[in-house]
């Protein structure tokens, strides 16, 4: 059969990848249900499992068991008392402010740190109550900067809609 271009590629609506790459996607199990009903031919080795899913069974292979176990343990870690929050606040429609809170718990001189940041990022930076505020959006830069000079610090980036990115900090 002659191939006609443009080729039609089936993309999985759940992870947006081409169906054959779902297994490397963020959540293969979530995709399985859709694949079972729509294009089981992409994974011939999983045919049996697809049959089961079609009959209403939930996909529950070993991989799935792993994922949820990891997630809660991580969550517990976030709730430790000592952490530095980096948040992006809005001032008016077009202006942003980066707020760093929680530095005091680590015994850091806020004024000195604000001065450092002012020099490094060339932006206005001041101490407001117990947090440092920078003019402009420098969330990622601040994150990199802090993780560089205080490698043990637990950093949390807070965006609208809750905590998104968490990293660093020695284990316990």
């Amino acid at each position: 059969m002659e191939t006609i271009y443009p080729l039609q590629v089936t993309y999985c609506p759940i992870c947006t990848l081409p169906v054959e790459y779902c297994e490397y996607g963020p959540d293969f199990n979530a995709c399985k249900k859709w694949i079972a009903n729509n294009c089981p031919e992409a994974y011939p080795e999983l045919a049996e499992e697809f049959e089961k899913i079609k009959l209403g069974e939930e996909p529950a292979p070993i991989e799935e068991a792993k994922a949820p176990v990891q997630a809660p343990t991580k969550k517990v870690k976030f709730e430790g008392p000592k952490q530095v929050k980096i948040a992006l606040l809005k001032r008016g429609a077009t202006k942003n402010i980066t707020a760093i809170s929680g530095l005091k718990d680590f015994g850091i001189d806020l004024k000195a740190e604000a001065k450092n940041i002012r020099k490094k990022f060339a932006c206005g930076c001041s101490v407001v109550d117990d947090s440092i505020e920078l003019q402009g959006n420098s969330v990622n830069q601040v994150y990199d900067h802090l993780s560089e000079i205080y490698p043990d610090m637990k950093l949390v980036i807070e965006e609208e809609g809750g905590k998104k990115k968490v990293n660093k900090g020695s284990k316990k």
Partner: protein, 180 residues
């Protein structure tokens, strides 16, 4: 190159002369595209160029009606993966073995051993050429990269990084949200 979708700084319509330039640049690299080039740039829709916010000042891409066509970084240009999926003959194909897929999808550069092993296959290509990265047992491309070494060098000394990963499945360009 882009791990997650970034904010778009500005968008601007390309002038028709610039569109012509873009088309000819595409055809120069991929002469096989000739019969299909008008499908990419339908007359009734304008071509829009978008630039990204700092620190991605060197990146820009063009899109037509919600589909990204090409991505530009300084002096290089390469097609978006969805476009490459539609026209797989656009680029030379370098195939990596199964074990490498995870890492390439994570954004890693392609290492030479993954290309010369049993599951890999390489075509002749010069250093600096843009190539499609295919995978063992899969029909579609999973990434687009730039050769860091020539094919000969890879064959004679299969160690270290061989292809720089420019654009891969589920990266920032893949998930980019376009303004309507």
């Amino acid at each position: 190159m882009l791990k997650k979708p970034e904010e778009i700084r500005t968008t601007s319509q390309l002038r028709s002369s610039n569109v012509r330039g873009l088309k000819s640049a595409m055809l120069e690299g991929h002469p096989e595209m000739e019969p299909y080039i008008d499908l990419l740039f339908p007359k009734q829709h304008s071509v829009i160029e978008a630039k990204l916010k700092a620190p991605h000042n060197n990146l820009s891409f063009t899109y037509v009606e919600k589909t990204i066509i090409s991505i530009h970084c300084e002096d290089i240009m390469f097609p978006h993966l969805k476009l490459l999926h539609k026209f797989p003959f656009m680029l030379k194909k370098m195939q990596v073995d199964k074990g490498a897929i995870r890492f390439v999808i994570g954004g890693a550069n392609v290492m030479a051993p993954g290309l010369v092993s049993a599951g890999g296959a390489i075509e002749e290509a010069k250093q600096g050429e843009i190539v499609a990265i295919m995978a063992e047992g899969k029909t579609h491309a999973l990434a687009i990269g730039r050769m860091m070494k020539s094919t000969e060098e890879i064959r004679s000394n299969p160690t270290g990084a061989a292809i720089e990963n420019l654009h891969y499945l589920n990266d920032g360009f893949w998930k980019m949200e376009l303004p309507s």
